[in-house]
Every structure is written in structure tokens, then in C-alpha cells.
Point group: C2
Chain length 219, copies 2
DNA sequence: AATAAAAGTGAGTAATCACTCGCTAACTGT
DNA sequence: ACAGTTAGCGAGTGATTACTCACTTTTATT
């Protein structure tokens, strides 16, 4: 278990090291920070503890990050991009429009499966985001912006497309989003955060969730 | 605005002062603690700050609460009872069974309206619970216990009753709960925490939410 | 090989924190 | 009116914190 976990954390860190400009020690710092902060929270994690866990002098942390908060932001900011990645990609709307998916339900299924896998491989990072979002307005702002500028418009385009095809009820997009999004997020949170150790039949749960959503907004 | 807020906080505190055994100063401490902690979080709030805001010496806080965490627990523990109050009451299941509500939809409507009002008048307290839940296992345990022992069984009874009446689909209770609960909580969180300042047509939103749920689990 | 720049170190520091303690003031029961 | 208990005070304390800085080691450049 600890083996696979170590693997996991290294994978997480590599996502943050997109430019490959980071030192070995810097990667160790990020790895340790994600691990400890996701378990105990930002304010319960001291920089000395991170340094120790990373096998690094405390000064080294501050060579790379001016403040402790800078370190948090460096961890948390990239996540917003990855969470909403499908909506940023030009592909997304095109794919939805193309013949890849015959119905909205098919599209939704592919989407939920995709985000399911993302959450599955990023639980520690997402835990940090969830926990710290309330306390750091700058982080909030980043997420709010990504949502209003990218995610929401992309969602609307897709919904409009399938409305024309007659797959969806004649309800305002706003309303559909406000109903469907919590259904998906609610499932993911119970699955990976509230009851991660329960026995889950993932495929079945996803299908049930989509059925539920389709009953609410589908024709 | 600050007037109505002061009113609100005093009301919140009186809920915690059920035995009426508390000193004036103790009430001031709770009022100040709820206010500051709900805004800035537990770890960003110092006891000296609470004392200052409460107009009290710092030592007075520790006369009533052995530790800072004891103060948090004193604030947060009673909330669990109030959140799940309807499920504790013997009334609840009886009411659901009686002729008060002809259909499950009527029952659900009354329930959601009731919880809506509760959340509305307890936003600061609920913010604290939401924010601190991840970091304090004891608090988690209290909520988990209330859910498995009281809330979940009561829900099941009610669902079974309306299933027999033919109001609900033939789906496991477990599944119904996992779908319906996030719909309600999702609405309340967007309404009071994510977008508290948006223009809301509350009655309409509640009806839409219930429609959505009924499409998913109703016949 | 020489030089400069960047990465890494760890003892040191000022500030802040939760909490204590010896004291006084206010209340309570007789 | 008195004694005993509880409430309130606030200067003081030891521990911990994020962060600094003078110094060494490693890496990159020519």
C-alpha cells in the first residue's frame, strides 16, 4: 500500500512540474507538502515538518517559495486547470457536437467516467483544495474565474446542442447545471472522501447517477 | 445590516445556552467565537482575538473552556443535534405516516422547507462545521454516529412507507438517499455559502429541486 | 580551469500562540 | 453579615512558528 502511495505522490508532483525546471529537492518538498497537508490541513502542517519529511533543510523550502502560502498556492493553483481541463480543450465542445456521441446520455457517461478517473488519481490534491478553499480568497477567485469564463460557457454550448437534438427538457441551462452538477460532485465526494473504504461497484454507481440526472433533465 | 447580524448571533448563542446556566460574559465569548471563527476559520482565530472581540480578559475564556478546542467543540457539537432534529423527534416518522401528507412529494416539500429555514438562521454555525469537519475526527465521529443511528433509519422508515403507498420507484433506499441528499445539500450550499448574494427566488428553487428529485426516485 | 550563478544548509530570531496563576470582585446560601 | 464558591482579570511563560542570513556546495558558462 505504501508503495503504491509513493508512486501516486510522485505522479501528482510530476503534474505540477510541467516545465521540468524543478530540482530533485524541490520535487521532494512538493511531494512531502501534498502528503502532509492533505492529511492534516495547511495550518496544522509546519514548514519544519515538511522539510523533515522531504529530507531537506527548512531554508531550502524558502529558497523556492517566498512564503508558506506561496507553497500552498503552487500546489493548489494548477489543480484548477486540471479539474476543468475538458472544458478548456477545444476538443470538448467539438467532440460533443461531433458524431462521437449519439445522445446526451452517452456524452454525459463519457464525461463522468473521465472526471471519475481524474478524481481517483488526484484525491490528495483535491482534498487540499476542498479544505483550504474557504480560507484563501485568492484561490477562490481562481476557481470562480475558471468556472464563469470556461466551464459554464462550455457547458451551455453543449446543453444547447443537445437541446436542439431534442435530448433535453426545455429548462434553462442555469437550472440544469444547478441540478446535475451537485449530483455528480456529490457522488464523487461520497465515493472518494466520505466513504472511500466502503465497497463500491463503481460502474453501477456511475450509471445510477446518470440515470438519476437524465430523469431530471432529459426528455 | 450590522444590527440584524448582531441579533442573529445572539439568537445563535441562545441555542447553545439551553440550560440558561451561562454567564453574560460566557455568552459574549461564544458570540465572538462564532463570528470570528466562521469568518476566518479555527486556526486563524487566536484566543486573544476572541477575548478582545468579546470584551473579556483572555483568562476568562479558559475559566469556562479548558482548551481552545473545547470551545470549538462546545460550539459545534450542539449543531449536530439541531441539524438532525427532525429525525430524532418521534413526531417525524409518525407525521410522515399520518395523513398530514398525502404524498411523498408533499412530505418532502415540508421537510425541505423546514431544513431551508434552519440553514438560513444558522449559516455561521454551519460554516464552522463544514470547514472544521475535516480536521477534527471527534466531530466527524459525532456526525457519522447521528447519521447511522438516527437519520438513516428514520429516512428508511419514511421511504418504506411511501414505497408501499406506491409513490416511489422500486429502488434500494440506499440508492435513493445517495441521490436525493446531495440534491438538497447541494442546493443549500450554493444558496447560502457559494452564492449567498445572488438574487434567489427561493420558493421556485425549492420546487425545482423537489421536481428534480421526484423525477429521479418518484413513480 | 576559472568564474559566476543557483541550490542547499541550519543555527538564529522576533513574533505569536495557547495556556497559567495569583489575585480581586461578585455572587450564593445560611 | 459572613463564609465559601464561582467568575473575571491580565501580566507572565514556555513552546512553536514562519522566515532570515551568512555560509558552503553544486551546477552552468565560457
Amino acid at each position: 500500500m505504501s508503495d503504491s502511495n509513493e508512486e501516486m505522490f510522485k505522479q501528482l508532483v510530476e503534474t505540477l512540474n510541467q516545465d521540468n525546471t524543478m530540482t530533485q529537492k524541490q520535487l521532494q518538498i512538493l511531494e512531502a507538502a501534498i502528503k502532509i497537508i492533505s492529511e492534516k490541513g495547511y495550518y496544522n502542517t509546519s514548514t519544519s515538518e515538511i522539510a523533515k519529511q522531504a529530507g531537506v533543510a527548512e531554508g531550502t523550502i524558502f529558497r523556492h517559495y517566498r512564503t508558506k502560502k506561496d507553497l500552498l498556492v503552487a500546489i493548489v493553483t494548477p489543480v484548477v486547470t486540471n479539474i476543468s481541463a475538458p472544458f478548456f480543450a477545444e476538443q470538448f465542445v467539438d467532440q460533443a457536437f461531433s458524431k462521437s456521441y449519439q445522445t446526451f446520455e452517452e456524452f454525459l457517461y463519457a464525461f463522468v467516467e473521465n472526471r471519475f478517473e481524474f478524481v481517483k488519481t488526484n484525491v490528495p490534491l483535491l482534498k487540499i483544495v476542498l479544505q483550504e478553499l474557504s480560507f484563501h480568497p485568492e484561490i477562490q477567485a481562481a476557481y470562480k474565474r475558471a468556472f464563469t469564463e470556461k466551464v459554464h460557457p462550455a457547458m451551455c454550448e453543449v446543453l444547447n446542442h443537445y437541446k436542439k437534438r431534442g435530448d433535453l427538457k426545455d429548462i434553462p441551462n442555469q437550472t440544469m447545471i444547478r441540478m446535475a452538477v451537485p449530483s455528480i460532485i456529490g457522488f464523487l465526494i461520497t465515493r472518494f472522501i466520505i466513504q472511500p473504504n466502503a465497497e463500491w461497484n463503481d460502474e453501477q454507481e456511475i450509471k445510477q447517477t446518470i440515470d438519476y440526472i437524465m430523469n431530471g433533465i432529459g426528455k
